[in-house]
């Protein structure tokens, strides 16, 4: 939706300019005249009025120092304060901005009121929809003077480009890009690595771990095959060896018998080891007297009624009650004492655990507490016995071997060596497999050979890569979207520039038919074709044409307030500018001096279909009295130091360019 802003009027008091009040609307209307001409002789305070208009509409005075503030004080006067009030129409909303200047303290204060909100609020508070227009940069585009016209054409300034950016909101693209950048920076701050080198490093680490894992897996597979082969080999070698050993008939028979017995004894040992291991898991078995201690613990806990059926929750509820269980009234002191005591009791859940501990003690240590350790001791002794039995068979077997080897059988010796070698190899193979297949440490080192640890490290490395990948993906996406926004900004500016140049040139052609200039480009400022500078008149014309094009294109309706719209223009240009004026917007307010009237006012009057308000403002001094003494009182407004006369006739008769 486009915006319609109108200037409804203003008032000044206590300032360098005469006190005055300007209403820009016909009586009983809130629609201002399309054109208002305010004629003020030089020295009347035209510049002050314009500066006040700008400051009040933009909030710029907030940045003024006290010296600047006091420059607006009425000269030769001890006025303590001044005020400038501007009334605006924003669609159907009436806005008032008040600028109050305290010359004693050298401070300013704004107040804002709106028909859509309640009361007057302190501060410069334009509604959100027009904030982008009511700022120092933008206000200067529609409260316009020759100085602005010069800056638009000044190659060292970017006012023209800024005007396009502002009016067409191209700065939004930059703002959006900035938000994406901020988003990325916020994310990057929390990431441990943001660069592609970081990603490469992590990927390399992941690949290294995966390569190692695959290598270890192949090694494990090979070792398992080797293990099976070795076991088979050992079986064969043992058989060979036993055969060779048993070549001596006597030894052979005894060997067979012992082997069978040894085999059985090994199985028994294995069984007993398992039983012992299982029994060792009962703490009350392995520590002598532990069962009795635990029973004693339980008995004491029972005796002390621990855990008590009264729990912490009981005390916490009691602390909230009005009365104690004994009937006394609770107060802050007793409540706190109860809460303190509650900390010494267990919660209901804790009571539950303790009761289960006591129950387990009863189950596992009940009966005769001595029996548990005794039972375990017997188990260990039993284990010892079967180990001894097995070892005896082993010893016997070794003796047989030695006896046989003493017979000097080199073949037997060779077979023994071979068997020992195979066993040694199997041992090494087993050790290596154990290392590869063992359970993982919780904090494995990077050079581990344990497969489970490697898998853990790989998962961690994959997470690391993912983290950086995500960060880099975000970075890439941010780059892409910023490029899009940047390109769109340039493209839009370029397209708009082309259109604005073309339309501005059309308007310039109309204005300066006799001495045309052509706008070549708007890189930062308005660049004229084939020339570095232009006359004052040309500058003004080009600027008007440019602004007219801008405002027409943008669909926003803003008042156009100009100081000396025709002052520097040649007489032949003035009518053209006058005819251009209605195109600048719905409302044109110009401050003029009498010498600007020629060739301008009449053309303007016609172009505006005679719907023009004429105001003449001057200081009330004795020497000016003659000018207004005979003016109809309906057309006259008098203040302490100023006189304002409405009407075309007086406007056209008034022939002072300077104050008397």
């Amino acid at each position: 939706m486009s915006l319609k802003l109108t200037l409804l009027g203003w008032s000044a008091s206590g300032l360098r300019c005469p006190d005055h009040q300007v209403h820009l609307c016909p009586e009983n209307s809130t629609t201002p005249y399309p054109v208002t001409l305010v004629q003020m002789p030089n020295g009347t305070g035209k510049t002050t009025t314009l500066n006040m208009l700008r400051a009040t509409l933009s909030g710029a005075a907030r940045e003024w120092n006290s010296q600047k503030i006091r420059e607006f004080q009425r000269s030769g006067d001890s006025t303590r304060s001044g005020q400038f009030v501007v009334r605006l129409g924003m669609d159907d909303n009436l806005l008032t901005f008040e600028l109050n200047l305290d010359f004693i303290q050298g401070k300013v204060a704004y107040r804002t009121s709106s028909s859509h909100s309640y009361g007057i609020r302190d501060g410069f508070l334009p509604p959100r929809d027009i904030k982008k227009f009511l700022n120092p940069e933008f206000v200067n585009l529609f409260v316009f003077d020759g100085e602005l016209a010069n800056t638009l054409l000044n190659p060292k300034q970017t006012r023209a480009r800024d005007a396009i950016d502002s009016l067409f909101q191209l700065s939004l693209l930059e703002k959006a890009a900035h938000h994406f950048q901020e988003n990325w920076e916020r994310h990057a701050q929390n990431s441990s690595s943001k660069s592609s080198q970081g990603l490469t490093r992590r990927r390399n680490n992941l690949n290294r771990l995966k390569t190692k894992r695959d290598k270890i897996k192949r090694e494990r597979d090979a070792l398992q095959i080797q293990q099976s082969q070795l076991k088979l080999g050992i079986q064969d070698a043992e058989r060979d060896y036993d055969q060779a050993l048993g070549k001596d008939q006597n030894i052979g028979t005894r060997l067979k018998t012992i082997k069978v017995q040894l085999d059985q004894a090994e199985k028994v040992v294995e069984r007993e080891v398992e039983k012992t291991t299982e029994k060792m898991r009962d703490p009350q078995r392995i520590i002598p007297g532990l069962a009795a201690s635990l029973i004693n613990l339980k008995a004491n806990l029972d005796r002390l009624k621990l855990p008590t059926s009264t729990s912490k929750e009981f005390f916490e509820e009691l602390a909230e009650a009005q009365e104690c269980v004994c009937g006394r009234q609770m107060d802050d002191v007793t409540r706190q004492a109860v809460r303190d005591r509650a900390m010494q009791y267990l919660g209901e859940d804790e009571v539950g655990v303790l009761n289960r501990i006591k129950s387990d003690i009863a189950d596992y240590c009940g009966g005769n507490p001595e029996q548990y350790h005794q039972d375990f001791q017997e188990q260990v002794q039993g284990l010892q016995k079967v180990i001894r039995t097995r070892d005896e068979f082993k010893t016997e077997l070794r003796s047989l071997e030695e006896e046989r080897l003493k017979q000097g059988d080199s073949e037997l010796e060779a077979k023994k060596q071979h068997l020992d070698q195979l066993r040694e190899q199997l041992d090494q193979c087993n050790q290596r497999l154990e290392e590869i297949e063992r359970s993982p440490h919780s904090k494995p080192s990077e050079d581990t050979d344990c497969l489970k640890e490697l898998e853990f490290l790989i998962t961690k490395a994959e997470d690391d890569v993912a983290e950086v990948t995500h960060t880099l993906t975000l970075k890439r996406k941010t780059e892409i979207v910023r490029r899009i926004l940047n390109q769109a900004h340039q493209h839009a500016r370029e397209e708009l520039r082309k259109i604005i140049i073309e339309e501005t040139n059309q308007r310039i052609t109309q204005l300066l038919s006799r001495d045309p200039v052509r706008l070549e480009d708007i890189p930062d400022s308005l660049k004229l074709q084939g020339r570095a500078g232009a006359s004052v008149g040309q500058t003004l014309s080009v600027s008007y044409a440019f602004l007219a094009t801008l405002f027409n294109r943008s669909n926003h309706q803003l008042p156009f307030i100009v100081d000396s719209p025709a002052g520097a223009l040649d007489l032949n240009v003035r009518p053209e500018v006058a005819r251009l004026v209605p195109q600048l917007g719905n409302q044109f307010v110009a401050f003029t001096i009498s010498s600007e009237r020629q060739s301008f006012v009449d053309s303007l009057h016609q172009a505006a279909q005679e719907n023009v308000q004429y105001l003449t403002l001057f200081r009330k001094t004795s020497r000016m009295d003659a000018l207004w003494q005979n003016v109809d009182s309906n057309q006259l407004t008098e203040t302490v130091d100023g006189v304002m006369v409405t009407g075309k006739e007086f406007f056209e008769r008034f022939d002072l360019d300077e104050e008397l």
Binding site: R128, L173, I480, R483, I484, A492, E495
Partner: protein, 65 residues
């Protein structure tokens, strides 16, 4: 506050130029409208940013001059 049609066209053209799907342009325009209305706090526009980034494709993106 409406965004000028030239801005709209420029955004769409830039999106196409960068081999991105149309939805990126639509979402960017929504963000610009939001910013145009004066909403620029991180909390307000965070989801716009996220939605646009989600739509950006990196696979078919080529490095352009």
């Amino acid at each position: 506050m409406a965004i000028d049609v030239k801005v709209d066209e420029a955004v769409f053209a830039a999106v196409v130029h960068h081999n991105q799907p149309d939805k990126v342009a639509k979402r960017i325009m929504k963000l610009l409208e939001e910013l145009s209305d004066g909403r620029s706090k991180t909390d307000d526009i965070g989801s716009f940013i996220e939605t646009i980034l989600d739509a950006i494709e990196t696979d078919n993106y080529e490095e352009l001059e």
